[in-house]
Each structure stands twice: as structure tokens, then as C-alpha cells.
């Protein structure tokens, strides 16, 4: 009888130790989740603003300041409105889900803006591949890199010179 009681108490102690021992693991999991956020995809940077694909637009728009031009298009038959914000050198497109806008894409308008890695309109195909590597999908006149839920698309004039750069969100 005595042995049994000792056995039971030991088991309870062991189980409770195991449970408490895991309190410290929440710190690890937080680190892990912030690490994975860094792998979110291609991010366009304009000054201090980080434009992440598929992100909610409210903060981003505030940070970017007043746009030089604004256009909205209500899609055929639906209450969703696709919005286009033009800034100096680039355009931001959004899409709505349940009345909240998210970043759909960023399109470069001229060579005054560049990607985080330094590519702009007018650069060569070689420079693109040098900077971003060989893991791309290509067609006759474009190269597309995919990272996380975003894509970086380079359209090439006669296959050699960048005529357009676009950050795209990969939506479900």
C-alpha cells in the first residue's frame, strides 16, 4: 500500500513537472514565428515604408503620405472596389476582402524607384539573374520570382532590358 502511494505521487509529480517545464517554451515559439514572418516574401520599400504584399493597406497608405493620383473601379456587379494609388515613381493597387483593402501589387512607373536589391527599369536581364538567382519562371518576355505569398515580375523589352517591374501578391 505504501509503495503504491509513493508510485502514484511520483507519477503526479512527474506529470506536473512536465507541464511546468514547458512554460518557457512560449518564448521559443514566439521567436520561431517572427523568423517565419521574415520569410513573408518580396517587400517593396519606399523611404521608411515597407509595402508587404497582401498586407492591410491602412498603415502603409498613412506612411506613404498623400498620393499624387487616386482611381477606383467598382468591379462588374460586385460591391468590391479595386483602388489605384499613384505616387512618385510607382503605383499601388489594392483589392478588397469584406470591406478591408489589401495590397495587390506595386508597379514601377519609371527608373526613379528601385527594388530593395537595387534593380530599376532600364537594368539588364543579366543583372536581374545575378541579383535574384536562377530560380525563376520565365516566358518570352518576362521573368517571375516567387517568394512566400509574393512575386517579383520583370518584363523585358526584346528580352534584354527591363521595361517594367512589378511586385505581386499571391492571393488564394
Amino acid at each position: 500500500m505504501k509503495n503504491k502511494i509513493i508510485l502514484i505521487l511520483t507519477a503526479i509529480l512527474a506529470m506536473s513537472l512536465m507541464m511546468t517545464g514547458c512554460g518557457s517554451n512560449t518564448a521559443d515559439s514566439q521567436e520561431a514565428s517572427s523568423q517565419s514572418a521574415g520569410e513573408a516574401g518580396f517587400i517593396f520599400e519606399s523611404g521608411d515604408t515597407k509595402v508587404v504584399m497582401n498586407a492591410e493597406t491602412t498603415d502603409i497608405l498613412e506612411s506613404l503620405g498623400k498620393e499624387t493620383d487616386y482611381f477606383e473601379a467598382e468591379s462588374c456587379a460586385f460591391k468590391g472596389i479595386d483602388k489605384t494609388y499613384t505616387y512618385s515613381g510607382f503605383r499601388l493597387y489594392t483589392y478588397p476582402v469584406d470591406e478591408v483593402d489589401y495590397v495587390l501589387s506595386v508597379e514601377f512607373m519609371d527608373d526613379s524607384v528601385s527594388t530593395t536589391e537595387g534593380l530599376s527599369i532600364g537594368d539588364t536581364k543579366e543583372k536581374v539573374i545575378e541579383t535574384y538567382g536562377e530560380d525563376y519562371e520565365d516566358s518570352e518576355s518576362s521573368i517571375i520570382y516567387t517568394k512566400g505569398k509574393s512575386q517579383l515580375k520583370f518584363i523585358l523589352d526584346s528580352g534584354e532590358v527591363i521595361s517594367s517591374i512589378e511586385y505581386l501578391a499571391v492571393t488564394d
Binding site: D69, Y70, F71, E72, A73, E74, C76, A77, F78, K79, T84, T86, R91, E107, S139, E140, S141, S142, K153, I155, S163, S164, E166
Partner: protein, 360 residues
């Protein structure tokens, strides 16, 4: 005893089937509150007479042409078989189906949908396809349109698609169970409100401007079908400022139309001649024309039709005059009602418009 059981069994099965039919009718969307476009296709079957001109295409036809104006000024009977984001193969099959009901003199097709070579969106598919009566054309159109998540069974028995609406039913679902609310004017969806067009961005640079082969195939099919049925096919590009119509696309259509001997008019190039004023004639900033814009375009187009084709002026025809007079009355009624709502609410509350807020 066994016989009695068998009879009860058969009656039970029949009742079950009948109830399934009724439940399906109840649960299917009625498009009576804000997204009226969904009811467009079905509206065609309410027509009692044939038409000289049939328009086929997406919102650039059903928002930009007024068959009532075409009748009033030229005595030409017409119908717009349009639907939201109608894809080219859907247009082709609608054309095929229409020709099984009547033989118009002219069929007008808006070429914007050449840019879509793949199935796009389940909701738009539904709005174009559900309203069609069952026919070979409908079946072919369904198979060509289905996105990956869709299945034919759900078109055959829409109950499987719409059953989830059970928790969203409204009084309208009962009222319009067997016939939809009357909202259109020979397929035209009226909007009298105004929203001036601002600057419309040019389109993004594309990596490929070539229209899909499959789209050309359907264009070929349209040409062949109209030739075979002795119907005059006309291609148009409506004067909508957005979505952007690329020069490269324009070039392709021009060359195709020339090659096939099909008349093609790009109304974006004739905005001045039409007399369109994009501060007055559009209700959504240049994407679609409002009533005044549609009437202007129709007047202009009607004139072109008269000059190029021998279309009878039926205004003296008693039977048709009566029918179209009634259509005109309904048209005027709605116009009045829309203006009244604009006065009262500042926006077209019951006609699908958004409430206008001052944040822009």
C-alpha cells in the same frame, strides 16, 4: 398490404422530388436587392417577339446601350444579352442559343472579353450560366467555364451550390421564387446617377499582348455561325475608359476584323463624335455610361446601323408599337423613380449604388 406500401413509397419519392425542386427554387439567389446583373440572362425568355439587333457581351453592352432609344429614334427592335464579366465562349454559346430562338438581322459583339482565355471566377460564371435555359449550348458553356473548384453536378442541381443560403434567406427569396424582379429594359440596366471621370491610369505594361488562341477560336466560331445563319456580325469596342484597352489589342482586332470581313468600330475613338462628356455621362468615373451616355451612344450607333444596313423601321407596326410602348412606359417609370431616389437619398439606394461618403 404490400401494394399499399409500394404506392406509399412511390408517392413519398415523388413528394420528395417535388420538395427538392421547391427548396432549390427557394434557395437560389434572386438578385433582387443589389446585384441585379445576375438576373439578366434569364430576362431574355420573357420577350414575346423577335429582335432585329441582338447585343452580346459583358457590362460594356448592358450598361452602354439603350434598346428603348434605338426603338424610339429608329424603330429598330433590339435586345442586349449581356452579363457580368461574360467570357468569350459564354458569349458564343449565348449567341448559338439565341439563334435557336430567333434570327436577328445583326448581332453586335463587344470584344473586351478577348483578354480572358481562362475561366475566371465562380460567381460571375453563375450569373451568366444559371439563368440560361437547359440546352446543348448551356451544357457546353458550363464545361468550358468551370473553374477548378466547380463541378457539373452543381450546375445540374444548383441546390448543391446554394444550399448554404438557408441562413441568409429574405422575404425576396419567397416573392421571387418563380420569376425574377423586373429590372431591365430589353437587357439594359439603367443608372441615372453621375460620377465624373477623373484621371484614368493607363494600363500596366504586359508581358504578352497576344490574345489567347482559344479566344480566336471562339471568334472564328462566331464568324462561322453568323455566316451560316445569314446574320450580320458586328464587332465593337464600347467607349469605356477602364479597363484599359491596349493599342496592341486594338491592332489585333482591327487586323482580324479586316481579314474576316467583319465590320469593327472602336467607339473609344469616336467619343467626340458621339458627344460623350465624361463629367456627365458616366455613373462610375468612366467605366460605364449612365442613362444619358447610353442614349447618346445608342443614337450614334443607331445612325450607323441605318446607314450600313437595311433595317426596317417598325414604328408603324401596331403589334410591335404596343409592346414597345409598354417597355417605354416602364423605362420612364424607372427613370423617374431613380431621379426621385437621387433627390431623396443622394444615391441610388434601391438600384445597387454605394452610399456616397465624403472621403474621396
Amino acid at each position: 398490404m404490400k401494394r399499399k406500401k409500394r404506392i406509399i413509397g412511390i408517392v413519398a419519392v415523388l413528394l420528395c422530388i417535388a420538395s427538392l425542386y421547391l427548396v432549390q427554387k427557394l434557395l437560389m439567389p434572386k438578385y433582387s436587392a443589389d446585384i441585379f446583373e445576375g438576373a439578366l440572362i434569364e430576362d431574355y425568355y420573357n420577350e414575346t417577339t423577335e429582335h432585329q439587333v441582338v447585343f452580346i457581351g459583358d457590362c460594356e453592352v448592358y450598361e452602354n446601350f439603350s434598346p428603348i432609344t434605338l426603338w424610339e429614334e429608329y424603330g429598330i427592335t433590339s435586345y442586349i444579352r449581356g452579363s457580368a464579366q461574360q467570357l468569350i465562349w459564354q458569349s458564343y454559346y449565348l449567341m448559338e442559343e439565341t439563334l435557336s430562338y430567333e434570327k436577328p438581322d445583326v448581332i453586335v459583339f463587344n470584344v473586351l472579353s478577348m483578354q480572358y482565355g481562362e475561366p475566371q471566377n465562380e460567381a460571375y460564371n453563375r450569373m451568366t450560366l444559371d439563368g440560361m435555359k437547359w440546352s446543348g449550348s448551356k451544357i457546353k458553356s458550363i464545361f468550358d467555364s468551370m473553374t477548378e473548384e466547380e463541378s457539373f453536378v452543381e450546375y445540374l442541381f444548383p441546390l448543391f451550390r446554394y444550399h448554404s443560403r438557408w441562413s441568409e434567406l429574405t422575404a425576396d427569396d419567397v416573392t421571387y421564387m418563380f420569376s425574377k424582379k423586373r429590372m431591365f429594359h430589353s437587357g439594359y440596366l439603367m443608372r441615372v446617377d453621375k460620377k465624373a471621370a477623373g484621371s484614368v491610369p493607363e494600363g500596366k505594361i504586359l508581358d504578352n499582348y497576344q490574345f489567347d488562341d482559344s479566344c480566336y477560336e471562339y471568334l472564328d466560331k462566331m464568324v462561322a455561325l453568323c455566316e451560316e445563319q445569314d446574320v450580320q456580325l458586328v464587332f465593337i469596342k464600347a467607349p469605356s475608359l477602364y479597363p484599359y484597352w491596349y493599342d496592341e489589342w486594338e491592332a489585333q482586332i482591327e487586323s482580324y476584323a479586316k481579314e474576316k470581313g467583319v465590320p469593327y468600330v472602336n467607339y473609344l475613338e469616336e467619343i467626340e463624335e458621339i458627344g460623350l462628356d465624361f463629367s456627365q455621362d458616366t455613373y462610375d468615373g468612366g467605366l460605364h455610361l449612365n442613362l444619358s451616355g447610353a442614349e447618346k451612344l445608342t443614337r450614334y450607333f443607331g445612325n450607323w446601323l441605318k446607314e450600313n444596313y437595311d433595317l426596317t423601321d417598325y414604328r408603324e407596326n401596331e403589334e410591335l408599337a404596343k409592346i414597345w410602348s409598354e417597355k417605354k412606359d416602364f423605362y420612364d417609370e424607372m427613370k423617374e423613380d431613380q431621379y426621385r431616389e437621387l433627390d431623396e437619398f443622394g444615391y441610388l439606394k434601391s438600384y445597387g449604388a454605394r452610399e456616397v461618403t465624403n472621403e474621396d
